[in-house]
Symmetry: C2
Subunit: 228 residues, 2 copies
């Protein structure tokens, strides 16, 4: 499904990680993996000088990042015509408890993508993008669903942006205390955290004999499960 990624050019000054530059990552493998794991992205856009940040589902196909929504939504209306946007996806991986307040941190992986958003104009292309979205979260599900109607397609806008101006930032590390703090008598370490899925809850119309699909049994597919 997933198309092969192309190499990324050197980062633009706008996305280069300046603070903690050792945490910056610019390779597409890292960027893609974070975008593919994130269920939700945060879309930043500007209306009358005011920034807005809207959380929404994102998915990637090849060199494009997609999101969608009602054709009537403010976010979609504000971003569809080549407006500058920033989509940020972040995954919290751990709480880092140090021996001084200032050395506390979190482990995380995040991606920031800058660029311009475009609406998918062709209906067939929008349909293919929405299929990729469902298949990304739930492999094999699209073909089993009640097919979309023209009306549903018309009410939905699909947006995309190029991934050519993107960077990742990663902290995956332990405690970094100031020299001398190590003996301070307080617990220090990492509490790992992850998005975990609980037991699936079938709705009232699912027949008793119907088996849960594998992506549901696997606790939401690509979501990280709790330590088993």
């Amino acid at each position: 499904m997933r198309q092969p990624s192309t190499p990324t050019p050197p980062p633009s000054d706008r996305v280069r990680v300046r603070r903690k530059p050792d945490r910056g990552r610019y390779d597409r493998a890292t960027i893609d993996a974070i975008l593919d794991e994130a269920v939700i992205g945060h879309v930043g856009y500007v209306i009358d000088g005011q920034p807005y940040v809207t959380p929404t589902s994102i998915w990637r196909t090849g060199d494009r990042l997609y999101w969608h929504g009602s054709s009537a939504s403010r976010m979609l209306r504000a971003t569809k015509d080549g407006a500058p946007v920033c989509v940020t996806a972040s995954l919290l991986d751990g709480l880092v408890l140090a021996r001084s307040g200032f050395d506390h941190s979190v482990n995380y992986r995040s991606v920031m993508v800058l660029g311009r958003a475009h609406a998918v104009e062709e209906e067939a292309e929008a349909l293919a993008a929405l299929e990729a979205f469902v298949e990304h979260l739930y492999p094999g599900r699209w073909a089993k669903l009640r097919p979309p109607t023209r009306q549903e397609l018309k009410a939905t806008s699909v947006l995309w942006m190029d991934l050519d101006e993107a960077s990742a930032k990663v902290r995956a590390d332990g405690v970094h205390d100031e020299p001398g703090d190590e003996t301070w008598p307080v617990w220090a370490g990492v509490v790992p955290v992850a998005l975990a899925a609980g037991a699936p809850e079938p709705d009232e119309f699912v027949p008793d004999a119907m088996e849960e699909p594998g992506y549901v049994r696997r606790r939401g597919g690509r979501l990280t499960g709790p330590a088993d």
Copy 2:
């Protein structure tokens, strides 16, 4: 610790939830609960017309939302002097699998706060804010830490914004199929998800005899644990 909240005035047109207005919540109890559970917020700001969205730790004290960072960071430099910002916090609660692609959804709770960001100018006030940050995540920890130095304080900027222009959006529901879709032969339901904490990992300097604090034993304090 947490100061009592004041009532919220009617939402401004900028934060009123237009899409799916039934999901809009404007009471401070709902808004505060979401902000208090979110470890990370996404701060939106504008530089030269380009929106940026930076993920960062957020915390609330009374009617103010706080975040912090290196005094040298682009995000802090761009937001500290009364610049318009948007801070959005979102919590993913579930994946909703319907019988048509278009009725798939997610359960979530999110808050969007619009306003202007200000830097905390007084050192004592910044120190109190950082104490509140640590205590929010790890109640009782601040007093046990190696106290901050002047240099650490100088290198850190604390920012805040008022919560007077904020709204929440909540979906906490099951599958909503189109009438007639209920009998379509595909599994449908909700997969609950939550940020869950794993076993704490003490660093190499923690003495064997040292007990983990309660907030670590409780799997990261206020983080939602996996279903026990």
